[in-house]
């Protein structure tokens, strides 16, 4: 266990951290990171998958049994720091792990979640993708409230975000966004036929 630090030592440490370069800071964080220790095999974990870039372990405090944490071996705090090639790879692995838990645990769905930042619910300091097996009426209850926004506001947000891709997205006449939303709501969830999909799975062993 860590030793208790005196207030002076804490102040000193804070000062030291403040003066670190981003590279030094990353190295420092890596040493403190429990998930880096798992990656290095110094802390034990229930590893369900690993390759050269990523490893996946069972969460010891799962939302549901079979809750998987998929992470890059390299220490990154949030997804925007991860190189694209690794993101592509992690996504493909996440898909396969989701497929595996659906089959292994007779789950009826999965949630895939990345939290960037404390405000987003991030708890670990090592970027990870959560894969949470779901069943009807389990105890997991996510909610995302809906709000209306003015067209002006949406237009301005669209422009700002589209700039990231170097193209300002095509302007479109959108007179009635509320009607569009209503249509989306009418799509009944029942249309997602998991039985049909699981039959696809069984014929797809590679």
């Amino acid at each position: 266990m860590e030793k208790k630090l005196t207030p002076e030592q804490i102040a000193e440490l804070k000062e030291k951290i403040k003066n670190m370069s981003p590279e030094e800071l990353k190295e420092f964080q890596k040493k403190q990171c429990i998930f880096c220790q798992i990656v290095e095999g110094r802390v034990s974990a229930k590893k369900v998958y690993e390759d050269e870039v990523s490893i996946a372990i069972l969460d010891i405090n799962p939302a549901n049994p079979g809750h998987i944490l998929l992470m890059p071996r390299e220490h990154y705090t949030i997804l925007p720091q991860v190189p694209e090639s690794e993101i592509n790879h992690l996504a493909a692995v996440a898909k396969k792990l989701s497929n595996a838990v659906l089959r292994a645990l007779d789950a009826k769905g999965t949630n895939i979640i990345v939290a960037n930042g404390v405000a987003a619910g991030q708890k670990a300091q090592h970027m990870m993708i959560h894969i949470i097996p779901r069943k009807e009426k389990d105890s997991v209850a996510f909610s995302i409230p809906q709000k209306e926004h003015s067209m002006e506001e949406l237009d301005s947000v669209q422009k700002r975000l589209a700039q990231k891709f170097g193209t300002v997205a095509e302007e479109r006449q959108v007179p009635k966004p509320k009607e569009v939303e209503a249509e989306i709501k009418e799509e009944k969830p029942g249309k997602v036929d998991l039985d049909e999909i699981s039959s696809l799975f069984s014929g797809r062993k590679k």
Binding site: I113, A115, L161
Partner: protein, 176 residues
């Protein structure tokens, strides 16, 4: 009009505010997000759930989702972002077309993506571990192909954009 609203967006028969579009992937604004800036990223081809999406497309979906996530930090002053997929009705999926949500976050924004943790016995954990490993052997076929390219190993965009206000650095300093 196509029966699927999201296919309708792809075909431009349903109005949308596009953020990004290429041959296979499209990203649009959610008109009714908890915060403006909530985006849907999805493959143009109609897939119901994630397992049907090709490796290439799912990689691209995450790549685009991550860029939007970065853009939200850079241009909207959000305090966090979530990438969130509801895969299957039991997971809260609403439209029958696979989508990935990029969700801007602020403290106390009313969004709940937290869960209560469960305590499993060592035996239960081991059983789950074995069951999953057994399936992973069948499902993961690309492992033998070897290493995906990890060219930009450094990935230290942080150092390029160093500065007290940079969100990448803020995140790194978050919990020393």
């Amino acid at each position: 009009m196509s029966e699927c609203v999201l296919c309708g967006i792809v075909e431009s028969t349903v109005p949308s505010k596009k953020i990004y579009e290429d041959d296979s992937i499209i990203a649009v604004l959610d008109f009714m997000g908890a915060l403006p800036g909530h985006c849907f990223v999805f493959p143009k081809r109609h897939y119901t759930i994630m397992e049907q999406v090709s490796d290439e497309e799912i990689g691209k979906v995450f790549e685009v989702a991550n860029k939007i996530s970065s853009a939200l930090f850079e241009t909207m002053e959000v305090q966090g972002t979530n990438i969130f997929i509801a895969n299957g009705v039991a997971a809260g999926q609403q439209a029958p077309h696979f989508i990935c949500n990029v969700i801007p976050r602020l403290e106390a924004d009313g969004i709940n993506l937290q869960w209560n943790t469960k305590q499993l016995s060592e035996e239960e954990m081991s059983t789950v571990e074995l069951k999953i490993k057994e399936q992973i052997r069948d499902v993961v076929s690309f492992r033998a192909k070897g290493k995906p390219e990890v060219a930009e190993k450094k990935a230290v965009r942080i150092s390029e954009e160093a500065g007290e206000e940079n969100y990448l650095i803020r995140q790194t300093r978050r919990r020393p």
